[in-house]
């Protein structure tokens, strides 16, 4: 596998890990309580 192939594989792995982190971060944080306890219009999705 050439350098381009390795970079592309790294990008794919990083994309999957980043997407999983974004989705799973919501499960470890009590988002419902945060959203209910803040006056901010910008809060993580429940």
């Amino acid at each position: 596998m050439g350098n381009d192939g390795k970079r592309d594989l790294a990008r794919q792995v990083a994309t999957v890990l980043g997407a999983l982190f974004q989705v799973l971060a919501g499960t470890i944080v009590p988002i419902g309580a945060i959203a209910g306890g803040t006056l901010s219009l910008v809060a993580p999705a429940d």
Partner: protein
């Protein structure tokens, strides 16, 4: 296409996850900086997408890359505009009275102006990205109207005017020159509809 925008997606994903976790800390400056970082990642990705040669955009790129990228970028555009106001209030640099509402209204207008500029630039890119972006911004502004309808007439009015500005930008862009839809529609006849 993903090689051009993929790393910026990665940055946006990680920062979004980080933002969700760090919301617990209630550190407005840190949270605002993260939102700005997400915006920067998605802005670069979106600009690289719309400036891509049409010939490299396949159907999958238009539906599976441009559409979600536009949606996410639209959300973060609106989120930044709303969050800056919240940050200023939490830092007690801004009151929650009329002056706060005025600044909030100005930030909404600034966000709408930025969104209109993005929509104008999107003319060169795929239609899916443009419509997803505009839809997300409009949806966020509707959310502001619903949230603030009973609380602030000024904020509600500013959100409605901002939504009108964004809608006009979409109409103007679509009428001024058809965005790229697909390979068979990528060339707009220059003489069509023009006098002479």
């Amino acid at each position: 296409m993903l090689q051009r925008v993929g790393w910026f997606f990665v940055g946006a994903f990680f920062l979004s996850g980080l933002w969700e976790v760090l919301v617990l800390l209630r550190q407005p400056v840190v949270l605002q900086a993260i939102l700005a970082g997400i915006f920067a990642c998605l802005a670069v990705a979106y600009l690289r997408l719309v400036r891509s040669e049409h010939s490299v955009l396949r159907r999958a790129d238009r539906w599976l890359v441009a559409l979600p990228l536009g949606l996410l970028f639209g959300w973060i555009t609106a989120a930044n505009a709303g969050s800056i106001n919240d940050t200023l209030v939490e830092l007690e640099l801004l009151g929650s009275g009329v002056s706060g509402a005025l600044v909030g209204a100005l930030l909404l207008f600034a966000g709408a102006a930025l969104a209109s500029a993005v929509i104008s630039v999107s003319k060169a890119g795929p239609l899916q990205g443009l419509l997803a972006y505009a839809g997300a911004v409009l949806w966020a502004l509707v959310g502001v109207v619903v949230n603030q309808y009973n609380a602030s007439l000024l904020t509600t009015g500013a959100a409605l005017l901002s939504a009108a500005l964004v809608a006009m930008a979409v109409i103007s862009t679509l009428r001024g020159g058809r965005p790229y839809i697909g390979a068979s529609r990528s060339v707009r006849p220059r003489a069509a509809g023009e006098g002479g």
